[in-house]
């Protein structure tokens, strides 16, 4: 791994704009609540779906619920203090 020089890194560190996350941290608790609530509701809906030969609808609902759940869990972890 390359080693940088002090002047270059100090100047670069000072000059670059500060880091900004994609999703503002203050919004994370609300996002976690909404997403996990949606995951729960969709999981419940999944359980009421009829059993088809090719489970297209079930898979669609399951995928949406999983995706929302994934983001919701990550937001919840950050909210709880386990910064990922």
């Amino acid at each position: 791994m390359a080693l940088l020089t002090l002047d270059y890194t100090q100047a670069l560190h000072k000059a670059t704009p500060p880091f900004a996350p994609f999703i503002p941290v203050a919004l994370l608790p609300y996002i976690a609540f909404v997403l996990l609530g949606a995951t729960f509701a969709l999981a419940f809906y999944f359980s009421t779906l009829p059993k088809d030969k090719i489970p297209v609808r079930e898979l669609a609902v399951a995928s949406t619920a999983s995706l929302l759940g994934g983001f919701g869990v990550v937001a919840m972890f950050c909210n709880a203090g386990v910064y990922l």
Binding site: M1, T16, P21
Partner: protein, 487 residues
Amino acid sequence: MPRNWHTPLSLILSALVLPLCASAANSFENTAIVRTVELGGALVHVTTTYAVKALEDGSSVYTLALGEQEHAHTSWLEAKLKGQAEVLPLEDFGYHPDSGVFLYTVELPKALNTNGTANLVVETVQTHATFPWPQEAAQKDPQSLKYNAELFVISPYKTLVQRTKIRAPTTTVHSYTEPEDVAFTTDAVVTKAGATITYGPFHDIPASASQDFVDTKQKQVTVHYTYDHPVIEVKKLERAVEISHWGANLNVDNTMVFYNAGPRLKGHFSRLEYQTQNYFGRGAAHMLPGINLILPAGIHSAYYYDLVGNVSTSHLRTAPSVPKGPNSNAYSLLELRPRYPVMGGWNYSFTLGWDSPLQDYAGYDKSTGKHIVGVPLMTVIPTAVVDEAEITLILPEGATDIEYFTPYPALSERISNHITYLDTIGRPKITLKYKELTDKHTGNIYVTYKVPFRAHLQKPLAVAMAFLGVFAIALTWRRVDTRIRRK
């Protein structure tokens, strides 16, 4: 020995300097050397001022010599020109077995012509150079330390006059060596004025960076003085800095083992005696009831626990967050009180950590896609020495193109994989190992890295896969008939 690291001089220059000291002695002459030793507890600050005169044109590389004993204790070395703030490039030429000295070269900013002069100020910090004497002390006894040094400042060049001033922290100096049969002087060798003991002046010392000089002319001096503060040694420091992009957070976790390197406690610890001392405000000098640490501004969710559990005897006063850059003076103050006062010879280990907003430490350059993070090397504890330090920087998952800058050369550096919550492939972890860090090692570590957008999505997708797995099990479960059928 960690010290300021600069790019090495050219090979030609090193070929000129590497041969025996005698050839390096031709280009300079020391008109005066004054060494001032500020005695302390775990750390001793030594400032040596060399008034040099060049003997030939174009002299720009000055060689410093440190004896074996001095080098063993020196853990920070910096050279500057007097009155100027710029640190001069220093090159370590290591140990010379034939002369028994360690050589360093300093590159002067401007080459000197014949009879040109310059004032070079070399600051060093010595660790483990003092030891408690007497080695045991009862709870209410005072604390005294002894410091050993060599009388003459050695140099590969001829010295016209030199003196050494040893300054004790208080005027109470129990004893100091009055060396006999000292060459190079006709006056009294040592004088004491208040808290300062002056050895010298010594005149016309030839090039002394040789084994012969050390064997025949060098003398040892010892100063026995009182020291009214606890001597703090951090035997091991494990510092982990974890960067999170999802939470925009920088977590710093320090695990330290405190050791009181003062005189060992004689007898048992009397709580009654301790309370009496506290009541009258006369705490013993070698007792460490607590320490005040300066932490960065903008920290929150600080935790302080040890083997037993959370330690509630501490008080943190935070300062509001400040934007990144070295400009602010704001700091948070932690009044750390261990569970018990750390007496001489006692250990105390604990973990101290906090979270802080990542924007105070990190920048993002959109044009190159690089993130740059600057974190302090360690939380500096004034007057304390850190024997061993292991500093790790944990970068986000999927970080690539990692480059880092260390303010002082590390004993070992490596990048490995670290797996923590919700990781799939693991995160890069930079581990730096250091020895003998002092309160002068205040530099920042800078790391640059890139994280592609899809690396950020790895965690949510991993959790989504886990959820999908559960849904898949549910799908099959619904279609499997587990009834015990009646025929």
